[in-house]
Every structure is written in C-alpha cells, then in structure tokens.
C-alpha cells in the first residue's frame, strides 16, 4: 500500500474517506471484522481491556493527521483501503488501524488493529 505525499488534494482525498466513514456509521452501518482483525482485537482485549466501542470511537475521531498509508487513487479496487495510526482506550495505546470502505456497497471492513511493530511515520502531521 502506497503512502500518498502531503499535498492539498491528497489531504482532501483522505478527508473524504473519513467523512464517508462517519456518514456510513451515522446511517447505521456497523463495522465488519476480518478474521485477522478479530484475532488482533482479541489480543488487545486481553492485554489492554480494549473493546469494540474503543475501536469505533477511534475510527470516528480519526483526522487526516492520523493518516499512514492508502488509498489507491486509481479507484479500480472493490474497497478503498486506508491505514492510520491512532491511540485508543483508557491507557491511550497506540495502534495501527487499517480498514476499507466498499466502493459499490456500504461495508466498512476492518482489516487490522494492533500495536505497531515499528514507529509509524505520519506524513500529514505537522
């Protein structure tokens, strides 16, 4: 997954992605978890007492500053996939969060939610 450079149009692209996410959730679309995301969330639950509402809140409060990688700007994929770095839970655990928005549907599919394996650069920050 490519990291988009910091340009006004790319920031706007990610902002549109976040706005679309919030709009879907506001309209009652619930997050779907892949097998991998489910296993990772189980670990976060046991290690940091993180639950689904923490993940939902994290997604709802994402800003472009949290951007890490994605989206494929070609628009040919079935899902627009984007990765972010944010903090969740009462212990403010830093996590890598990757999810996709179905292009020809409404699904919000969570691919990954785990403590990052390495420091994450956030190109749209500062």
């Amino acid at each position: 997954m490519k990291q988009l450079p910091y340009t006004i149009s790319n920031v706007a692209l990610i902002q549109d992605f976040l706005d679309e996410t919030k709009s879907r959730i506001a309209n009652g679309v619930e997050i779907t978890f892949t097998n991998k995301a489910g296993n990772e969330l189980a670990l976060l639950t046991l290690d940091f007492d993180i639950d689904i509402s923490d993940i939902e809140n994290a997604i709802l409060t994402l800003s472009t500053e949290n951007y890490y990688r994605g989206i494929d700007p070609s628009g040919n994929a079935d899902f627009d996939v984007c990765a972010f770095c944010t903090v969740i839970g009462k212990d403010k655990v830093e996590i890598y969060l990757k999810y996709g928005l179905e292009v020809r549907g409404l699904q919000i599919l969570l691919f990954s939610n785990h403590v990052p394996d390495y420091p994450m650069t956030q190109p749209f920050k500062n």
Binding site: E30, I31, T32, A42, T45, D51, A77, V81, F111
Partner: protein, 165 residues
C-alpha cells in the same frame, strides 16, 4: 435447530457458524466457542475481492459475543468461578440467584447476569470462586447478611455445612 442468519456483503443471507477456538495467551490456554460467518476474502493491500476464497468474517454483534466468551475463558483460567460452576453450586444448596448475589455483597441481579453473560470482572469471579470453594467463608457471609432473617441464615448455613460433613 434454527440457525441465525447473517447478510453477506452482497446481501445474501448466510448461516451463522460456530467453532471452538483454542488460544494461548502468556502461557495460559484459553478455550471458547466463537461465532462467525463466511464471505469472500478481500485483499487488504489491493482492496480487491477474491471470489475464489471465503474467509471468516464477524459482524459487530458476533465480535461482541466472541470477546465476551474470550474474557470469560480468560477470567476462569485466571481463577474465577465459571457460570456453570455457580449454577451447579446454587442448585446443590438451593440458593436463589438473587439471594446468592446479596449474600456476596453484590446487587440483586449480579449473579443472574454472570450466569447468563459470563464473568465480566476477574475480581468478582475470584471472590465467587473463593466462596464456592471454602464453606467457612460463605457461611460467614450468610451470617453477616442483614437482608436474610436469622431463621433463614441459620437454615442456609446448616444446609451448606451439612453437605460438607
């Protein structure tokens, strides 16, 4: 038995499936039942749906139930009483769930909620386990329970102690 249905990505109803999961966490083996459904895999890098492979997916509700089951298994592995153990104990000594709750110092519905939803807190689960395992502790709490009259307290204490003889 009728199974639950879940809608796939393309709005096709599919069956909710379940499977036993065994996980090892910090050296502790956890076993619980998870629920899921199958839908076409999505490549997380390209965002493309692969119509040749079906993978486990979880709805929010399924994930909530799975995390509850996982936490319950974790608490039991760490020394909490299991819901089945609590039910067995209450039935053996004929103690209603609300009475058992009050004796232990919880609110009226706590034991009933635990029996239905599982152990939600390790400290609570461990306290119950200690009381179930040690008759002197539970009979002491019975005697200290103001909500029961003296006759009931003595009757219950006797029932518990007699079983141990």
């Amino acid at each position: 038995m009728e199974t639950k249905k879940v809608l796939t990505r393309d709005n096709t109803p599919t069956e909710e499936l379940s499977a036993t999961v065994i996980k090892s966490h910090h050296g502790i083996q956890l076993e619980y039942t998870e629920v899921y459904y199958l839908d076409f895999a999505v490549d997380e890098d390209t965002g493309m749906i692969n119509k040749a492979i079906k993978e486990k997916h979880y709805t929010k509700n399924q994930m909530e139930r799975n995390l509850k089951a996982l936490k319950n298994a974790y608490h039991i592995a760490k020394g909490a009483a299991s819901p089945a153990e609590i039910i067995h104990y209450r039935k053996k000594y004929k103690i209603p769930a609300s009475t058992f709750s009050i004796i232990l110092g919880f609110s009226k519905n706590t034991i009933s909620n635990i029996e239905t939803d599982g152990i939600t807190s390790l400290s609570t689960g461990r306290l119950i386990k200690i009381c179930i395992d040690d008759k002197s502790v539970i009979t002491r709490y019975v005697q200290l329970c103001d909500a029961l009259d003296k006759r009931k307290r003595d009757e219950l204490s006797k029932r518990i102690m007699e079983e141990s003889v």
